[in-house]
């Protein structure tokens, strides 16, 4: 087993009396797609927010390639190589698609500006299937295209680790097939992905391993087929009677 790219140890965050993430530990290996699963409210998005620096943890550590990143502001973490998409899609609405991607290019790990940046932006838009739409303002795009745009913006940061927060949610069957193929192609490029996902078909076909959370804590970890058959996982999703 290779050393993890991302190591999360004892990560904890409470909101008032509610412990949203409770002593969560797991690792993401280089080049793998790790699924972070769990019923609604189990703390998946909070965990992503803690990793990306949107929130600071109350306790615990997040290390990227052995370097402590928890506690750093989000922009530092982004520059060190963790990029993300958002559960509720957040394009920069009044800016063009090209400018949206430039936003990812201009300040990231492998930053580019001017002519080279424009070329890379076009290439990234083409990669996610938005070729030729660079001049359109982001707000006129369809929902699925806004999701593609967000992915292109995240990839523009040349991330070591990509966090996808329910990137496949809300897509129709055709879009879903294309979306899965797109994430699959990211893996082919050797990218490392941590994805929060509810679409089980996608989890089965994409993820190398899964971590399942319930009530803020990890309840299972392993290959998708294994964890999805786990009694405790089924209990968490469906209740005790079906387990």
């Amino acid at each position: 087993m290779s050393a993890p790219l991302l190591r999360v140890t004892g990560l904890t965050r409470a909101f008032g009396g509610l412990v949203a993430v409770n002593a969560l530990s797991f690792g993401v290996r280089p080049g793998e797609i790790l699924g972070l699963l769990g019923p609604n409210g189990s703390g998946k998005t909070t965990a992503l927010n803690l990793i990306s620096g949107a929130l600071a943890p109350d306790a615990g550590r997040v290390e990227l390639e052995g370097r402590l990143v928890s506690g750093l502001p989000a922009h530092r973490i982004a520059r060190l190589g963790i990029a993300r998409t958002f559960q509720l899609v957040r394009p920069l609405p009044a800016m063009s698609c090209t400018e949206n991607v430039l936003a990812g290019l201009a300040f990231g790990r492998d930053a580019a500006w001017d002519g080279e940046a424009l070329e890379r932006a076009e290439a990234l838009l083409a990669l996610v299937g938005l070729g030729g739409k660079g001049h359109l303002p982001a707000e006129v795009l369809t929902y699925v295209d806004q999701k593609r745009l967000e992915l292109a913006r995240a990839l523009a940061l040349s991330p070591r680790l990509l966090l996808l927060d329910e990137w496949l949610a809300g897509l129709n069957p055709t879009e879903l097939r294309d979306g899965i193929a797109l994430i699959h192609s990211l893996r082919e490029e050797g990218r490392t992905v941590l994805m929060v996902e509810h679409v089980m078909d996608a989890v089965r076909s994409l993820c190398d391993r899964c971590v399942v959370m319930n009530a803020g804590a990890r309840i299972a970890e392993g290959p998708p087929a294994e964890v999805l058959a786990d009694r405790e996982v089924i209990r968490a999703y469906l209740g005790a009677e079906d387990a």
């Binding site: 990306s52 620096g53 949107a54 502001p73 989000a74 922009h75 982004a78 520059r79 990029a83 993300r84 958002f86 957040r90 920069l92 609405p93 009044a94 800016m95 400018e99 430039l102 936003a103 990812g104 201009a106 300040f107 990231g108 790990r109 930053a111 500006w113 913006r153 523009a156 940061l157």
Partner: protein
């Protein structure tokens, strides 16, 4: 603004510098007034336009500039006075920037409004308790024409900086912040630093405007220097013109400065009420500014 547009604008400014030779009375006074608001409103929009942070601190910075001249004007040579005003003002703006980092929306507005009042009260307290004189005379050997030329120079400098900024990474960062600050942080933008840098730059021009204008009054007290109406007038001018283009605010400054002139000459006792009415009218009728109206008619013509 493109490079050609900038050069054209600078040539127009150079031509306008002839005004004092044509008339040294009413028209020069009016030109000074317009030039003053042109710098203030454009400086305001340089920060507030892209970030969408509505600042009411204009009066605070303008006042710092003016009051520095009132205190130091006779003690130091003029360039040193301007430099001192600039340094003091930028330090204050950095301080305010750090303090207001985490404020957004209405909290920022209220804080900046309070700032002008706070500084006015502090200066008043200091003058009453320490120097024991409230109000100062500004007798400097600076003519109206010189005031006007300095304002034109400031405006030209601001246009050059603004043009550079729009094409720069910092300017782009501010637009991203204005669109979505959360996203800005997650694409690696140090939002705090970008906002503070621009806030200080914008403040510097307001401070220098206040300093340049100070000799015009001959008598200054904190209530004149830190008059909160300045903040509102500048805000409404910038909004009327449009804050998303560098020359947008100017389109609001010219008609508004003329209107304020007419209003304060004819209805001196009802000026504030009328100002409020104008404010509401602008926000309801031209929410995207004159620039927005122009862009819309242009689009219609194309379609």
């Amino acid at each position: 603004m493109s490079r050609n547009a900038l050069i054209f604008a600078l040539l127009v400014l150079a031509a306008l510098s002839a005004v004092p030779w044509l008339d040294s009375g009413f028209w020069l006074a009016l030109s000074i007034n317009i030039a003053q608001y042109a710098v203030l409103a454009t400086a305001w929009a340089v920060f507030s336009g892209p970030t969408r942070y509505v600042s009411l601190a204009t009066a605070a910075f303008f006042g710092i500039g003016a009051y520095t001249v009132a205190v130091l004007g006779e003690a130091l040579p003029w360039p040193a006075v301007l430099a001192a005003a600039g340094v003091i003002g930028v330090l204050v703006s950095l301080l305010v920037g750090f303090a207001t980092l985490r404020l957004s929306g209405v909290y920022f507005v209220v804080f900046t409004f309070g700032l002008a009042e706070l500084i006015r009260q502090l200066v008043t307290w200091f003058e009453v308790n320490v120097t024991r004189t409230i109000g100062r005379y500004v007798f400097l050997d600076i003519t109206q024409a010189q005031i006007y030329w300095q304002l034109l120079g400031l405006f030209g400098l601001l246009l050059i900086l603004g043009t550079w900024l729009r094409a720069s990474r910092l300017g782009f960062a501010l637009r991203v912040i204005g669109e979505d600050e959360m996203v800005a942080r997650h694409v690696g933008i140090d939002t705090a630093r970008a906002k503070i840098a621009l806030f200080a730059l914008s403040a510097l021009f307001m401070i220098l405007t206040g300093a340049v204008m100070a000799p015009r009054w001959t008598y200054l007290d904190p209530a004149i220097a830190f008059n909160p109406t300045t903040s509102f007038q500048v805000l409404i001018m910038a909004l009327l013109g449009g804050v998303h283009a560098l020359l947008g605010p100017l389109l609001g400054v010219v008609p508004m400065a003329l209107l304020f002139e007419v209003l304060s000459a004819n209805f001196p006792n009802h000026f504030s009420i009328l100002l409020g009415a104008v404010f509401m009218l602008v926000v309801y009728a031209v929410p995207r500014g004159v620039i927005g109206l122009l862009a819309r008619t242009q689009r219609r013509r194309v379609a």
